[in-house]
């Protein structure tokens, strides 16, 4: 199930190690997650749910959904989708709620490590990276933290080339853009990067903002700064259908992680739900990884993503069933087939139109929503804006939220594209430096240029929708 060749990607695996699943040895590679290694060995059921004991497997692959909790070295509730393998690890599936180990030593109380900077940026995707580059160039000291072991956010899974203009990396693959931006960030001495570091809360302590974070699931770090830029990206939406929790049903991003980050095939035959850009791009990536895509179903009467992405998979033989929905997943402990049906104009299932697809994977690409937990927790005003795909923080033209000194950029400000995320990141980075009195006047012009580029990018039919949404999310400051 591990990919050895790929038309666009090279997989460099770490040292081979052995982990034990229910006592059985399993081959794994350093640098990959427990769930990835288990998946590569064909293990789909990771736990049985808390109350109903329903089988559950990998779903989000980014540590958010709780579907992959297992007992690792005797410790329960470990998120195996973000925990890296270590030689000799003992892994057991969890059955229901966890029992803590009977005895333990009380841990010593220790002061947390403190890291200070002018600007603390949460999220090392396209928005966060651009924010870091520009805040740093404008004179600010910056710390950039990201949950993942590598910078780039979702860019690292994107094998397709980006749209836009050349200066916005048009025609360059997402994976390559990630490398370019990372190089730029690493070049700057006034940017410190903390990987595998999750922000878990923002506290306001006087003039200072405390971003509390956990590195490697082990170390508590207090990032203290005067401005915070939240560029935490997006999370996939879920939809209700029968047995929507069966192992073998994944968020599209999880499949991209398995396949493009770790080089593990998600399965052999896939049904994709959703013909937005994510679903279409995923279909193409699956084909590139040698996986058969049986069909894409889409509830809307048309392809929601860019036509050119649809055309790419159509000419490779993938049907797109518009006005269709998934009714249920079937299978004992994992997906064995998917049942879809046609919808009428009132979104009701048309009787007698059921189709069965024999698949072992169902990929959900039913949309993203902004990850706003940190902003919400920090007290920023939040508003539901349909055009931005969910709840977003209210902000001004400088991307500053209603809490002074907290800025937002990228998908966490509204679902768009990496290109707009980069431009918003640039604006937020400069704005933070300006707000702190670090950047000089000349940076205002640079920021206005980014604002103009954004407006141009958004001036087409796709972007206009977003512009309507942004109007609703905008506060005008005196």
């Amino acid at each position: 199930m591990r990919l050895t060749e790929h038309p666009l990607l090279r997989f460099e695996r770490g040292r081979e190690v052995t982990i034990y699943f229910e006592g059985k040895p399993i081959k794994a590679y350093e640098g990959e997650t427990i769930a990835t290694a288990l998946h590569a060995s064909g293990i789909r059921v990771l736990n049985y749910s808390a109350n109903e004991k329903r089988p559950r497997g990998l779903f989000c692959a980014i540590g958010k959904c709780s579907s992959c909790l297992m007992i690792v070295n005797g410790i329960p509730n470990v998120r195996t989708c973000i925990t890296l393998v270590e030689d000799g690890m003992r892994i057991e599936p969890q059955h229901g709620k966890a029992r803590l180990p009977g005895e333990a030593k009380p841990p010593e109380f220790k002061e947390a490590k403190v890291v200070r900077a002018d600007v603390v940026i949460v999220g090392g995707g396209p928005a966060g990276l651009m924010a870091a580059i520009h805040a740093a160039d404008a004179g600010a000291s910056v710390v950039l933290l990201d949950e993942n072991p590598m910078l780039g956010g979702q860019l690292v899974k994107q094998t397709h080339k980006f749209f836009g203009k050349r200066e916005q990396f048009a025609g360059v693959r997402g994976v390559e853009i990630a490398k370019i931006l990372e190089d730029e960030v690493r070049k700057r001495e006034n940017v410190k990067v903390f990987l595998e570091t999750s922000a878990v809360g923002i506290f306001q302590e006087g003039e200072e903002k405390l971003v509390l974070a956990v590195r490697n699931n082990r170390e508590l770090i207090e990032f203290r700064g005067r401005a915070v830029i939240v560029a935490t990206g997006a999370m996939e939406k879920m939809i209700p259908f029968e047995n929507n929790d069966l192992p073998g049903i994944y968020g599209a991003g999880a499949i991209q992680t398995l396949m493009n980050t770790y080089g593990v095939k998600p399965g052999d035959k896939v049904l994709i739900v959703g013909a937005g850009n994510v679903g279409l791009i995923l279909a193409y990536q699956l084909i590139q990884a040698g996986v058969e895509v049986k069909a894409i179903v889409e509830a809307m009467p048309k392809v929601g993503g860019y036509f050119v992405h649809a055309a790419k998979v159509r000419r490779l033989g993938v049907p797109i069933l518009t006005r269709h929905t998934i009714l249920r997943a079937e299978g004992k402990e994992k997906v064995e087939r998917a049942v879809v049906a046609q919808l009428d104009e009132n979104w009701n299932v048309v009787p007698g139109t059921e189709k069965v697809f024999e698949v072992d994977v169902i990929a959900l690409a039913v949309g993203l929503r902004p990850s706003i937990e940190l902003l919400h927790q920090a007290g920023c005003q939040i508003k539901y804006v349909r055009e931005l795909s969910g709840h977003v923080a209210v902000r001004d033209e400088w991307m500053e939220t209603t809490v002074r000194g907290i800025f937002v950029a990228g998908d966490s400000a509204g679902i768009e594209e990496a290109t707009t995320a980069m431009l918003e990141g640039k604006i937020a980075g400069i704005a933070a430096a300006l707000r702190l009195g670090i950047a000089d006047e000349s940076w205002l012009k640079e920021m206005e240029r980014a604002q103009k580029d954004l407006l141009e990018f958004r001036s087409g039919p796709f972007g206009r929708h977003v512009l309507d949404g942004i109007k609703k999310a905008l506060v005008v400051r005196e």
Binding site: K97, L100, P101, P107, G201, L210
Partner: protein
């Protein structure tokens, strides 16, 4: 039949509404936010009769008896479990104090007893026995789900005709002399008014504002909102820390396993005065401070994950005992519970309903002890211990 307005849709207000309806009274209940949003849903779920003074012991002994039958009476699963309270002593002096308390509690029928650490470890498998000398243990103490309890009362109250309105804020009273004749309220931007025969102020932390509307001083019942914070872990298998476990000498720190989802709730007396009645902001010092105690009480807790931290109010009076009784002609109060409202609600609701409807109640509630005018007279009670 009189018409009685209750202000505050927390556990005290809703329980009293139910009890009044049982007595045949007409009740209208106002909650400015959603039911339970003030302090009830933010509480640590504990119920105990292990107090250190006669009034509270007797009241809670009675309340626990009501709790035991509440699920059946209300016909709703409220997750009431008598899993006990276990106070732990860290010094010989404390052991002696525990013994004295237990003697007092035993006098009023509370079956508390002193236990050794071996027995404590059987009751709480993840307990760290090493720092403690002995435990004060009452197996009849327990816990319940605050939200379900409130809704159980509410559903029954509504069946009995109570007009319970949420998102409806009381904005003033109409009075004739000392008597309140009508309540003015606002809901969805619209203002309304309803004629009433009596009013109960069950607004706890917000009670001084209601008193002011009735023409009384805000300071008559000096209630101060203190943020009492809690930290909770992910759901865990039941049976690991069921009782409320508290070494009082460790800044009143405690742990208790949620009776419904099994998450372990951690509290401590690390307190902050609220900046305002909308200041529910959890604080960083509490997050780390409470867990420092919690892992010393139960070291295996180190492997559990914290999923949330929140703050509620301890609506505290100067002696940490509530103000319960009549304030004016037809204006009553049951507020300032200082952290004990949830556990006391079955008894207090019944007592208040009796007082308002008939001028008396069979509930063993010491009206003098809880007299709302005691603060004005400067007669403070011995401080009630605040856990739960």
């Amino acid at each position: 039949m009189s018409k009685i307005a209750i202000i505050g849709g927390g556990i005290i207000g809703v329980a009293t509404a139910y009890e009044l309806a049982k007595l045949g009274e007409e009740v209208i209940l106002f909650e400015k936010n959603y039911f339970g949003s003030g302090s009830t849903f933010r509480c640590a779920t504990g119920i105990r009769a292990q107090f250190t003074d006669e009034a509270n012991i007797r009241l809670m002994k009675y309340s626990v008896e009501r709790w035991e039958k509440l699920e059946e009476e209300l016909g709703f699963d409220i997750s009431f479990r008598q899993t006990g309270y276990l106070f732990l002593a860290t010094s010989e002096e404390e052991v002696e104090a525990f013994k004295a308390n237990i003697r007092l509690q035993n006098r009023f029928g509370v079956p508390a007893r002193l236990i050794g650490m071996d027995e404590a470890k059987e009751i709480v498998p993840i307990l760290n026995t090493e720092p403690f000398l002995a435990g004060a243990w009452n197996p009849e103490d327990g816990k319940a789900n605050p939200f379900k309890t409130l809704f159980a009362y509410l559903f029954r109250a509504r069946e009995l005709g109570v007009d319970a309105r949420e998102h409806t804020e009381v904005i003033g009273f109409e009075r004739e002399g000392d008597a309140i004749t009508a309540v003015r309220f606002r809901s969805n931007g619209k203002v309304g008014s309803v004629r009433v025969d009596a009013v109960l102020n069950a607004a706890n932390a917000w009670a001084p504002l209601i008193n002011e509307m009735a023409g009384l001083s805000r300071d008559l019942i000096p209630i101060t909102a203190y943020k009492h914070q809690l930290v909770k872990t992910e759901p865990l298998e039941p049976g690991q820390a069921e009782p409320l476990v508290c070494p009082p000498s460790w800044n009143d720190a405690y742990i208790i396993q949620d009776g419904e989802d099994g998450g372990i709730i951690c509290g401590a007396g690390i307190e902050h005065k609220a900046k305002g009645l909308d200041d529910y902001e959890p604080t960083y010092d509490f997050l780390r401070g409470v867990l420092e105690y919690a892992v010393r009480i139960a070291p295996p807790l180190r492997y559990a994950h914290v999923v949330r931290q929140w703050a509620g109010f301890y609506a505290k009076t100067p002696d940490s005992n509530p103000a319960i009784g009549r304030l004016l002609d037809n204006f009553y109060i049951a507020a300032g519970f200082s952290g004990h409202g949830f556990m006391m609600a079955p008894a207090v609701g019944e007592a208040m309903a009796g007082l308002i409807s008939k001028g008396r109640s069979k509930v063993p509630l010491d009206w003098e002890w809880y007299d709302p005018y005691r603060f004005e007279r400067g007669e403070l009670r011995s401080s009630a211990f605040q856990i739960g």
